[in-house]
Each structure stands twice: as structure tokens, then as C-alpha cells.
């Protein structure tokens, strides 16, 4: 059912959509699981919704999504609700159209085609975003696939089938911050304060390392240019100089004082921690020594009666 698409459209997916779908799924799953505990675990529920965005030429950019109720009797999505939501969104984002719909599951199913066809009167070629909610720690990519529908001739009958399309992730500044926040909210094993501190410090360390390597590349480049090994490129030089001018150049004495005082405070705390560590080791050592070597030390507990 899924082969690569030939429509030539480029898809851009915003992380907001992914977070929305996953949030919807998690909520529904925890609500259904909360009611029925005991007995065999129920199969994971499927959630449905619409995706909206902008189509400019050959680029389809999916910005946002909203949830829909699936009516298993009629096997269709709630049309009235879709219309109402569309009107509301039009007021705020006039450019957004309904581009398609989303669902969760491991693979596209036959029944999905019905929903897909039903949406075709809103958008002649809707997209189908599928999120795989099963957690596979070995998997490196996002478990999100985008399907399009194409008319293929199979066994002499023209049929609509789903074909996979490739997509890229596109982020706005605001989205980047929130995704970062969500990513750090819960460490992988829900660790204690110590692991959270370690994770935080590791993050800062890798960030500084990356900054350092990039500055080194720039520096190397500038030195080579100075020596004459590389031809001078004025545009790059202008960019570098503007970057340097943006640096915070606080050289006042007050800054120096405050900075050194804070630095010293942190060092003192580290020193105190080492002190405590050392004292506790020393204490244990002394206890052991006293037990082993002091002939007349008071012995707690029962002693052998000689």
C-alpha cells in the first residue's frame, strides 16, 4: 500500500503538530486505561484529527492541527465540527486551509481510505499524517509518516492507494523553545535531582564545546586568510566583524567584581562539598580503626562472654 510518492510535492511539518497528536493520544490512552484496570490491556485507541496549513506552489507546510471525534457508526469524522473550526481558524489565520487529517497507529489501514475520500471534497488531495505511538528505543527517526493518495491501476481497476512522502521538519523560534522545554521536562528514567543536575550540566557542557569548536573554525579561517593562503572574501569578513560587534563587551570594574565574587562563591561551595566528603570518609576510617586496633574500646551489642 505504501510506495514512494510521485507527486513532486515537498512537505514541511512543524513540531507543534507532532506534539499535538502525541498529546491527544496520551490523554485518550490514559483516560481509557484509567477506567479499566485489571484484565487484559485493551488495544491502543486510535485518535483522529485535522491538520491545517498553507500550500504555496509545490510546498505544503503543515502548521497546526485540531482534534476530531470519530463516529464508529457512520465511520466518518464530524463534519459540522470541522466546518465550525475552519471558520474560527480563518478569522485568526486567514491563510490556513485544511490540508488533511491525522491518526495514530502502526500502519495505514483500509478503513482510513474512507475517511480520506470523505475529506476530498474539502481539499482535492488531502494528506494523511500517521503517528506510530509504540515506543521503539532503537528507532532513530521520528515515528511520523505522511501519506498521499494516488490513483493507481491495480488489476485493471483504478484505485486510490496511499503512498509515502518524504518531509522535513520546519521550526519557528517559539516552537524551538517549547520543544526544548518539553524535551528536558522528563529525563528518560525520571531521575532524581542528581541526574537532573548532571543532565543539565552535560547539556551546558556540550553547548559550550560546540561553541568552542565553531569559534576555532572561524579563527583558523581568519588566520589562514591573514597569512594569504585563502583569497580574501570581504562579505565573510563583514559578517565576522558584525558578529564580533554583537558580543557583550562588559569591561567595567563592577562587572569584574561581581563576576569574581560569584565565581569564588561557587568554588567555595565545591570546596565545602569536598570537605564533607572527606570528613565522612575519615570518620568511617576512624571507626574502623578503633574497632580493629583499640583493645579496650566499648563494643556495642552482645560480646562473647569469655
Amino acid at each position: 500500500m505504501a510506495s514512494s510518492s510521485s507527486s513532486g510535492l515537498t512537505f514541511k511539518l512543524h513540531p507543534l503538530v507532532i506534539v499535538n497528536i502525541s498529546d491527544h493520544y496520551t490523554r485518550v490512552k490514559s483516560q481509557t486505561n484509567g477506567c479499566s484496570d485489571g484484565g487484559p490491556p485493551s488495544p491502543p485507541p486510535r485518535v483522529y484529527g485535522c491538520v491545517i496549513g498553507v500550500q504555496r506552489g509545490r510546498t505544503v507546510e503543515i502548521f497546526n492541527s485540531f482534534e476530531l471525534l470519530y463516529d464508529p457508526v457512520t465511520q466518518s469524522l464530524d463534519r459540522a465540527f470541522i466546518e465550525k473550526k475552519q471558520e474560527l481558524y480563518k478569522k485568526v489565520f486567514p491563510h490556513f486551509y485544511i490540508l488533511g487529517w491525522y491518526s495514530t497507529g502502526s500502519d495505514a489501514e483500509e478503513s482510513d481510505m474512507q475517511i480520506h475520500k470523505a475529506l476530498m471534497d474539502i481539499n482535492e488531495s488531502p494528506v494523511y499524517v500517521l503517528l506510530n505511538p509504540s515506543i521503539n528505543p532503537a528507532q532513530k527517526d521520528l515515528p511520523v509518516t505522511i501519506y498521499e493518495s494516488e490513483l493507481h491501476v491495480i488489476d485493471g481497476i483504478p484505485q486510490l492507494i496511499f503512498v509515502c512522502s518524504s518531509y522535513t521538519i520546519e521550526t519557528v523560534e517559539a516552537e524551538r523553545i517549547s520543544v526544548d522545554h518539553v524535551a528536558h521536562l522528563k529525563p528518560s528514567d525520571g531521575g532524581s535531582a542528581a541526574t537532573q543536575l548532571a543532565a543539565h550540566l552535560t547539556g551546558i557542557h556540550s553547548a559550550i564545546k560546540m561553541l568552542n569548536s565553531r569559534i576555532r573554525v572561524l579563527h583558523h579561517y581568519l588566520v589562514a586568510m591573514q597569512k594569504g593562503e585563502i583569497p580574501c572574501e570581504n562579505s565573510l569578513l563583514r559578517q565576522v566583524s558584525s558578529l564580533l560587534r554583537r558580543l557583550p563587551a562588559i569591561e567595567s570594574e563592577k562587572f569584574q567584581d561581581d563576576f569574581l565574587m560569584e565565581y569564588n562563591d561557587t568554588l567555595l561551595i565545591a570546596y565545602l562539598a569536598m570537605f564533607t566528603n572527606c570528613s565522612s570518609t575519615m570518620n568511617e576510617l576512624v571507626d574502623k580503626f578503633n574497632t580493629a586496633y583499640d583493645r579496650h574500646s566499648r563494643r556495642g551489642g552482645r560480646t562473647a562472654f569469655i
Binding site: D257, D258, L260, M261, Y263, N264, D265, L267, L268, A270, Y271, M274, F275, N277, C278, T281, M282, E284, L285, V286, K288, F289, N290, T291, A292, Y293, D294, R295, H296, S297, R299, G300, G301, R302, T303, A304
Partner: protein, 423 residues
């Protein structure tokens, strides 16, 4: 069969490389007894050897010739010879035979004392200590050196040795003597904090039975504690040996009384107490220290004033601290400001003293380096401590005692706890 000539020839031949030296060492060890028998005849042969090139061989012959009793005449010659040797010998070679080296130094010290010129021994022994020093190891040489420094009153040279950390000790007696003499040198240099540390080490060192060094050290410990801290707590820390804990207080009752009188805070009472027991303090050679205790009392009282008053007139200081005149009060305060014990400014026009806060703001680069080096030091110390902790956890003596203390049947398992570990 050995002859001294053949040995000398061997020494001259085999003193060049490390491999040769180990060969030479084995030869010399075998020939050791022979050398001792010939101890009287060995002097002329020393001329043929050069201490800088043939240190090991020279050392052996020297040790053999000094092993017996030495007369005054011989001592004069030997002192010159040994000082030359100690200043010019090669460190690597003598480290191969440290016990011989220490024996030579010991007899050198005795000879120097016999000639009653301890100052002649200071520099050679300082060189000897530096050459023998192998990271943080305490040998018999150290207390001997410190003793010479004390007798010669060269406190500064002795003090330079005390800066090193010690990790291993050969003999407990060395350690007690080292710390005791070290403490006395620090008192002579007026470094009371270091003196307190060293004397504390003697008092709390592990000892199976009380010894005189610890008793003397405890007396000085009480006095230095009063001078430096202004108080003395009679409870010794828990790592003190039980022998010390039980006996020290009864043996040094006089000094404990002194500490109690001090804590009351009245100068007159302190002085009367000292007057009545003057001879006893004198016989312990502690009278100088006791006088310093009295002067420290004034300091303590002035320091107490800094916590109550922001400004005070010199007359009031003199009255509160029971000094005779404002001039004396001014002198005391000035001295304390110079020593860094209080922070204050004296306004001479109206005779007021204003007490200030510690101006250290902890925002200089030197402070960063200082704290950083302290952190490094404590990290190495922590590693050593964990290593020692693991070592002692495997000690059979410790395991046997711990095994005995546990209940017979542990909660989790039903094997009885072994009473003895046969390793």
C-alpha cells in the same frame, strides 16, 4: 676472602650506572660484616674514594667506621668528613641503602652533640633530609634533624621541613618525636596554629600505652591552645587512643587547672595561680609559654570587646581589660592590628578605637587560585583516604572483630556469621 683494597677497587669500578650499582650493592651487603670487623682501619681508605661519584661505597665504609664508640678526637675528624659527605653525596645512590644512611646521620648527630656545637650539624643534616626524602615518608632522620635545630636555635631551617605532608611512618616513636619537636619549633617561630596541629597529632596518635612524649606534648598543647584559641576543651576527639584518654588528664592536672582559671577571665586570679605554681612550670620548661598565656588573656578580652562595641575609647578599653593605662591599651590594640587579629582604626586625637569588619571580599583572582589549590589538595587527600578505607576494610583483625559483634544469625541469611577468618 675480602680485603679492604679489593672492595675499594670494586667501588671505584662499579659506581657508574644503575646496573653496576645494584651489583655493587649486593657485594657490599655480603661484605658488610667484614667491614664492621675492620672498623678501626678504614679511615685511610676513605681518602681514595670520592663522595660525589662513589656515594654508595663511601656510605658503607663510613657506616662501618662509625658503628663503634667514638672518642672526642675521632669525633672532630669524623664530623668534618661526614659533613662533607652529606653535602656532596648523590641522592640516587644513597637511596639504595637508607638504613645505613640514617645510621650514619644518627652517629653524626651524637658526635656533634658531644662536641657541643650543634650548629655545625644543621646544614649537613638539612642536606641529608632533602636527599633522603622520598615522598611523604617519615624516617628517623627527621626528628634527629629537628632536635639539632632546636638545640642550635635555628628555628627557621627546621620550620622549612615541617611544611611537607607525611603519609607513611617507619616507627611510631619517630612520629611522636617529630611532632613534638616540630611543635616546639613552631612555638619558637610563633606559628601557633601549626604548633597546635602538630601537638594535637602527638596527643591523639595511636599508642598502646601512655608515654612521656605524649605527656609533655599534652602540657604544651594545653598552653598553646589557650594562647591561640583562648579556650581549651578537655574532651579529646574520638580517634584518640584509649590509653591517652584515660591517663593524660590525671598526669597533667596542673595544666587543666590553669585552663579552668583562664576560662574564668580574671587576670589577677590567673596571675596568682601562676605565681603559686611557678616552680612546677619552671621544672617542665614551660614558664615562657605560661607568660605568653597571660598576655594572650588581654588579647582575648579585647577581642571580646569587638563583638559588643562599634567604637570605644582607650580609657574604657583599659578599664574593661584591667590594664593600667590607656597608653598600654593603645599598644596592645596596635600590636593586634599589626598581627591581623582584629580590624580596627585608632583615632589618636580623641583616643577612640573603631572596630571594623573583615575587609576580605573574596573577589580577587588570588583568592580564586588559593581556593583552587585547596580544592586540588583536598581531592588528592580524598583519594588517599578512600584507598586507606578500603585497605582497612579488608584487614583480618578488623573483620574478626566486626564478625564477633554481629548477631549470630543475620536477618536475611541463615548461615551463622563466621567467628574467625582463616586467610
Amino acid at each position: 676472602m675480602y680485603t679492604v683494597e679489593s672492595l675499594v677497587a670494586q667501588i671505584q669500578g662499579l659506581s657508574s650506572s644503575a646496573g653496576d650499582l645494584s651489583l655493587l650493592l649486593t657485594h657490599l651487603k655480603q661484605a658488610d660484616e667484614f667491614l664492621h670487623n675492620e672498623s678501626t682501619r678504614l679511615f685511610p681508605f676513605l681518602e681514595q674514594l670520592d663522595p660525589t661519584l662513589h656515594s654508595l661505597g663511601y656510605l658503607y665504609i663510613l657506616e662501618a667506621s662509625t658503628s663503634g664508640p667514638v672518642t672526642n678526637e675521632q669525633a672532630r675528624r669524623l664530623v668534618l668528613l661526614i659533613s662533607r659527605f652529606l653535602t656532596s653525596c648523590v641522592a640516587d645512590q644513597i637511596r639504595l641503602a637508607p638504613e645505613k644512611f640514617i645510621a650514619v646521620c644518627k652517629s653524626f648527630k651524637d658526635q656533634v652533640l658531644m662536641l657541643e656545637a650543634p650548629i655545625r650539624g644543621v646544614v649537613p643534616l638539612l642536606e641529608a633530609v632533602k636527599k633522603l626524602r622520598s615522598s611523604e615518608h617519615l624516617t628517623t632522620l627527621h626528628p634527629d634533624f629537628l632536635q639539632i635545630c632546636l638545640l642550635a636555635k635555628c628555628y627557621k631551617t627546621g620550620f622549612s621541613i615541617l611544611e611537607d605532608d607525611i603519609f607513611e611512618v617507619d616507627q611510631p616513636r619517630d612520629f611522636y618525636l617529630y611532632c613534638y619537636y616540630g611543635g616546639m619549633i613552631c612555638i619558637g617561630q610563633k606559628r601557633f596554629q601549626k604548633a597546635l596541629e602538630l601537638l594535637h597529632n602527638v596527643v591523639t596518635a595511636p599508642m598502646s600505652s601512655i608515654n612521656a612524649i605524649a605527656v609533655e606534648a599534652f602540657k604544651k598543647y594545653v598552653l598553646v591552645s589557650l594562647i591561640y584559641n583562648g579556650q581549651f576543651s578537655t574532651s579529646l576527639p574520638k580517634y584518640t587512643s584509649s590509653a591517652a584518654q584515660r591517663n593524660l588528664k590525671t598526669l597533667c592536672q596542673l595544666y587543666i587547672e590553669l585552663a579552668n582559671t583562664y576560662s574564668i577571665g580574671k587576670i589577677s586570679e590567673l596571675e596568682t595561680y601562676i605565681q603559686t605554681n611557678r616552680e612546677k612550670f619552671d621544672s617542665d620548661n614551660n614558664l615562657g609559654l605560661v607568660k605568653q598565656v597571660v598576655s594572650s588573656m588581654y588579647k582575648r578580652n579585647i577581642q571580646r570587646l569587638t563583638q559588643t562595641y562599634l567604637t570605644l575609647s582607650l580609657q574604657d578599653i583599659a578599664n574593661t581589660v584591667q590594664l593600667s593605662s590607656p597608653k598600654e591599651a593603645e599598644m596592645h590594640v596596635l600590636q593586634m592590628i599589626q598581627d591581623g587579629e582584629i580590624y580596627a582604626t585608632i583615632n589618636q586625637r580623641d583616643g577612640m578605637v573603631r572596630f571594623l569588619e573583615d575587609p576580605e571580599q573574596y573577589k580577587t583572582c588570588e583568592m580564586i587560585e588559593h581556593i583552587d589549590s585547596s580544592i586540588q589538595r583536598i581531592m588528592t587527600l580524598s583519594k588517599k583516604l578512600t584507598a586507606m578505607d578500603e585497605l582497612i576494610s579488608c584487614d583480618p583483625l578488623y573483620l574478626a572483630k566486626v564478625g564477633r559483634e554481629r548477631q549470630r544469625f543475620d536477618f536475611d541469611d541463615f548461615d551463622s556469621v563466621p567467628q574467625k577468618f582463616n586467610i
